[in-house]
Amino acid sequence: MPTVTLNKEVLEKLVGKKLPLEELKDRISMLGTDLEKIEGNEIIVEVFPNRPDMLSEQGFARALSSFIGVKTGLRKYKVNKAEKDYKVIIEAPVKKVRPFTACAIVKNLKFDDEKIREIIQIQEKLHVSMGRNRKKLAIGIYPLEDITLPITYTAKKPKDIKFIPLESDKEMDGLQILQKHPTGREYAHLLEGKEVYPIFIDAKNNILSMPPIINSHKTGKISEKTKDVFIEFSGFDYDVLSKGLNILVTALADMGGEIYEMQIEDEKEKKKTTSPDLSPIEWKLDIKYVNKMLGLDLSESEIKKLLEKMGYDYDSKNKKVLVPAYRTDILHQIDFAEDIAIAYGYENFEPEIPNVSTIGETDKFEEFKSRVANILVGLGLIETNTYHITNKEDHNKKMCYEAEAIELKNALTKDYSLLRSWILPGSIKVLSENTNKEYPQNIFDMGTIFRIKKEEETGVKEFCRVAVTLCNKDANYTCIKQVFDALMDALDIKYDIKVAEHSSFIKGRLGRVSIKNIGLAYIGEINPQVLENFGIEMPIAAFELNLTELYNIMKI
């Protein structure tokens, strides 16, 4: 989730009220952002991904100001009509690579270092969150005085795109930028394999940028001298772009800018639109539904007030909510219900346990597992609790046994890259990490193991198994079989046992247990080579029992 750093002074000025520190902290948390810390003049908050409009000081202040009741209701922003040549032409070639753009012009901004920082932060945060790292949405901001309107959005072969990118002093072509420029390399995957790359060109044929990668050095840099800017958002879904643009222009308007429309002409679709569109979106609201979900009995006028605290207007006559054009998170009227709850204050709800009778019930197999564990505890064993994810070294190599196991596709480290297909290696690993602790070390571990089985929904079948591991100077086959027999007696189970071979165990000292010809357990003494591999200087006798299969047999 994106974390933003807000300038407290700027924020307070925008909010229009200075709150005591503790109250400020509380209000920020209860508004629905995760306050990380306030340090001096810096407020660091985590903005939830459904509220990209709060990624700027301006957007954040707008929400907070309504919430604490300073300036409630829908904010109105004036959008001036497009002047001559305030036009962007979308040419056919770009429709194949990055088909849409939403643009605007904002004038009369007074830039200083602080404002430039703020704008860069919004741009970056929108790129990461809403833009999914520029994939869905990329933003370009250009000083108006450096470019000539109208603008053309088109696409060309990479070799034919030539300009000096930002943070470079050499002219490069499209391919060179992706291969050599640091920003180009970072985002190269977004254009890789495309025949043509998108570009914005001005009326004098200067390349402004190659979205979503980089702007031109000549035209794409805002400075303290900049007053008016041209803004473009490019991507694949016009609605997303338009929302993003609304977030940015309203923030700029809150900085004092004046918003101007632009005409967007899509040549291929033969469609003309204007952007930005800041008119509120209307939603029907069912007050009864809201009250039912909240467990409250609010009147329409109370709900209207609460909606206004969250920056909406409510039209009582038509029973409609007017949603600001920069809000991206309204999918369903339940979203209003939540905002009403936030405005009401989560802290003001009285928790209630309803008088509904239902009958509690354990899962029978879980109960069985718990019984087995208690029997083993009664035999003096200590339970351990190991991870399901392990590695080939411990699971196979050190065990002298090639067990088939499922690998993870994207493990962070080799140490944890394999789903265990038996439990015992984990138990022996535990013992290898406790050689300096008091003996005897008689332990058990119960848990899930993973095997490939095509018929399952995922192709993976999970079994619960238990491993009992006796590690002490007298550990031998007799001791471990005593434990096994005690468990079987407790469960009232008769079994067959045959001598078997398994390279993790001493030859001639391993029994294979089965019931009705279904193999259920191995009992034996661990191969001293395994002990040596794990650095254990104490004999181990162990069994591993499949509880899932055992339970299924018992049920039959």
Binding site: H332, E366, N374, N410, L412
Partner: protein, 512 residues
């Protein structure tokens, strides 16, 4: 005197053997020798007696002498200078010859000549011929101070601090020579009798026929009736024994399960490997949501993909993502891809079990409440506050009349039962809930709010495609491990699954 009598009743057979010896000696080593017992037995008896305030044991460290290898040899064959004198007592011999014959080692030989010359026991003439003097002959007949000391060391313990002047002189001489004597530190114990102790050692301890261990034999022949039982020191420290034990995290899990059962919830279980469909898509998590990235979720290499459920669920879920279907939602407005939904993952939350439960639930079963407590996985680097495997406690309440206040009610109740009196709820965001709640509890020791996990009401976009109708479903899934760390006083989350057997043995039982 009654005090002494009471003590006598408590005497263990070992103590009975030791007490009379205390009359004659106050040194542990001497008592040990006289008792004929093992040293641990004598020490244990003395410690018990100390516990009864009969005596005090004081440690005493002294330096005693032992024989070195050469010292032992000298004791057997005589000191080298004696051997030397013996060789020349009948006729003078040249030094060269003595050297060639290897009567003594070169070093010893030179030392002997030095010593004997100093004592005027030999003469060295021309051609380095060595002859014995009369004084030398006298020396040969008598034993030297050094020899006397060596003999004494071989027979008894010689304490350096107790040497006579003559012995001290011999000690200094021997110390200069190679491997003759070795001073070693020796620990011993002094026994100081208390007033009671002094009375006790002179008392008649009476018959030893008190009963120690009651035996089956005594019961059979009723012999116990004629005897008295020795009284025990009930305050005695006994050796620790280890017991069988459930792992402490599992103790807490069982206890939490019981809480949900008490509250009328039914247990859900299910596999840890799930398709993305159940882990994400059924929970209205858009296919480009960052949580589905490789750096957050573990994907399976092989089998990479699983099977999708039949159209009954598949179509509504797909349409809900794309355009909201009949849920009254706009959906996410994108083209939903079946192949992404097939990808196998290690479940990132137990919420996938809730989704499956909703899919299997019939309308006539409502209202219904379910819980799960199970392992989940996130592709995270291990550190003090992150595990790649963790437990989650999941719950859903499917009830036509459920509302936000009920959600807070259930959560508050659960956390209260888990030991947190104060719980606070903050707005949060999860793709599949709206309302969304973050639960903080007040840490009674650290005096601060701890973030313990998420909850909410499932979005209609989750419920309707699975259940077929839009009913409020309260849902929560706080991480369980953090909830229990406070009780066990564990600050580093990795310690929960470290399996340090000392920790597992000694950590307190879950008591909430």
């Amino acid at each position: 005197m009654s005090e002494v009598k009471d003590i006598i009743k408590t005497l263990h057979p070992l103590e009975r053997k030791v007490v009379p010896l205390l009359k004659q000696s106050s040194v542990f080593s001497e008592i040990l020798k006289k008792s004929g017992l093992k040293d641990v037995e004598v020490m244990r008896a003395l410690q018990w007696l100390q516990g009864k305030e009969v005596l005090k044991i004081k440690e005493d460290v002294k330096e005693v002498l032992t024989l070195g290898d050469n010292g032992k040899q000298a004791l057997e064959k005589g000191l080298p200078e004696k051997v030397f004198l013996d060789t020349i007592k009948n006729k003078a011999v040249s030094l060269d010859k003595l050297r060639n014959e290897n009567v003594l080692e070169m070093q010893e030989l030179n030392a002997c000549i030095g010593i004997l010359k100093g004592k005027v026991a030999i003469n060295i003439g021309a051609g380095r011929i060595i002859s014995i003097t009369d004084h030398g002959k006298q020396l040969l007949e008598s034993s030297s101070l050094e020899e006397k000391l060596l003999k004494k060391i071989s027979k008894e313990e010689v304490d350096i601090s107790g040497l006579s002047d003559e012995e001290k002189f011999a000690f200094q001489n021997l110390k200069k020579r190679k491997d003759m004597i070795k001073p070693v530190l020796k620990k011993d114990w002094f026994i100081i009798l208390s007033d009671t102790g002094k009375k006790l050692v002179t008392s008649n301890l009476g018959s030893e026929k008190t009963i120690e261990q009651l035996t089956p034999g005594m019961l059979k022949n009723s012999s116990w009736k004629k005897k008295e039982f020795r009284s025990y020191d009930v305050k005695i420290n006994v050796p620790k024994i280890n017991r069988g034990k459930r792992h402490f995290v599992n103790q807490a899990i069982e206890s939490a399960k019981r809480i949900w059962l008490d509250m009328g919830f039914k247990e859900m279980t299910g596999p840890m490997v799930q398709t993305s469909f159940w882990n994400f898509d059924a929970l209205f998590t858009a296919q480009d949501h960052p949580v589905r990235d490789l750096q957050d979720t573990f994907y399976i290499k092989d089998p990479e993909k699983g099977k999708l459920p039949d159209d009954k669920f598949l179509k509504p879920v797909k349409q809900t993502h794309e355009n909201g279907w009949t849920t009254g939602s706009t959906g996410w407005n994108y083209k939903w891809n079946e192949e992404n939904a097939k990808e196998n993952v290690l479940r990132t939350h137990t919420t996938c079990l809730s989704a499956q439960t909703l899919a299997n639930l019939k309308k006539e079963d409502l209202p219904a409440k379910f819980f799960a407590l199970g392992r989940c996985f996130r592709n995270e680097t291990l550190d003090w506050s992150h595990l790649f495997e963790f437990n989650q406690t999941e719950g859903i309440v499917v009830d036509e009349n459920a509302n936000f206040r009920h959600l807070l009610g259930y959560l508050k109740q659960f956390f209260k039962k888990m030991g947190y009196e104060q719980a606070r709820f903050r707005p949060a965001y999860f793709p599949y809930t709206e309302f969304s709640v973050e639960i903080d509890v007040f840490h009674p020791v650290r005096k601060e709010w701890l973030e313990l996990g998420g909850a909410g009401i499932f979005r209609p976009e989750v419920v309707k495609p699975l259940l077929g109708i839009d009913v409020p479903v309260l849902a929560w899934g706080p991480g369980f491990d953090r909830i229990i760390m406070e009780f066990f006083k564990i600050n580093d989350i990795r310690e929960l699954y470290k399996n340090d057997l000392k920790q597992v043995r000694e950590i307190k039982e879950w008591m909430r």
